[in-house]
Symmetry: C2
Subunit: 102 residues, 2 copies
DNA sequence: AATAAATATGTCAAATCTGACATTTTGTCA
DNA sequence: TGACAAAATGTCAGATTTGACATATTTATT
């Protein structure tokens, strides 16, 4: 799949609402992006609720501030795996993850 | 996290039910494993319902039969990303994915 | 039982993702 | 305004994941 497109859409401006078929995105592509955005948002929300800074969260999940920033920004270099692991690490359970992406 | 443990638990025998604290697994670890297993199972189920063989599915998602087999078996070398992408490719939508892991 | 079809397992080079670091931008408070 | 903290962005070597292939095992079909 075209990385440019993905990068474009995962960037500011498209945080909210559905990206369905904005540009020739297939159903799978847009759902995948939406799913990642949902996880990103959930991570940001949860972190802010719980208090810590990106740097502190980074320590909890032994990662780095810059990677946390990328996660929260929906950077294409971040995998769903990492998002899920981070959410679990920060105390969000499966059920809540499911709710976030539903 | 200990890869041996993960490998062990993701192997036959533990497809059903909760793996919580069987061996010293943390909450995050067990939830992560359970989440992956849920996706694996969902993939197998959906594929069988929809008809194609692993080889045919592999083509649809341009992967290979062997990797599909690993996905369905919950092999540790398979990422959540790939599982999610495969589910989406086979026609399962976000909502159903959410339901599967809830 | 024999054959074929489907699935499982092992391996590996190439591709992707990762933490870490440096640097820049944005936000906050005096 | 300036100075300080938090967040964002770029880069990259090392780690992990990938498709592909070979091969073995299981399952169906005759």
């Amino acid at each position: 799949m075209d990385k440019k497109k993905k990068k474009l859409l995962e960037t500011k401006g498209f945080k909210v609402g559905s990206v369905d078929e904005f540009l020739g995105l297939s159903r799978e592509e847009s759902e995948y992006i939406e799913l990642k955005l949902a996880l990103s948002q959930s991570l940001t929300e949860t972190r802010k609720k719980k208090k810590p800074t990106q740097a502190q969260l980074a320590k909890m999940i032994n990662s780095s501030q810059s990677r946390v920033a990328k996660m929260e920004k929906g950077d294409p270099s971040v995998s769903v795996d990492l998002l899920v692991k981070s959410l679990l690490a920060i105390g969000v359970d499966k059920k809540s993850i499911a709710k976030a992406i539903a």
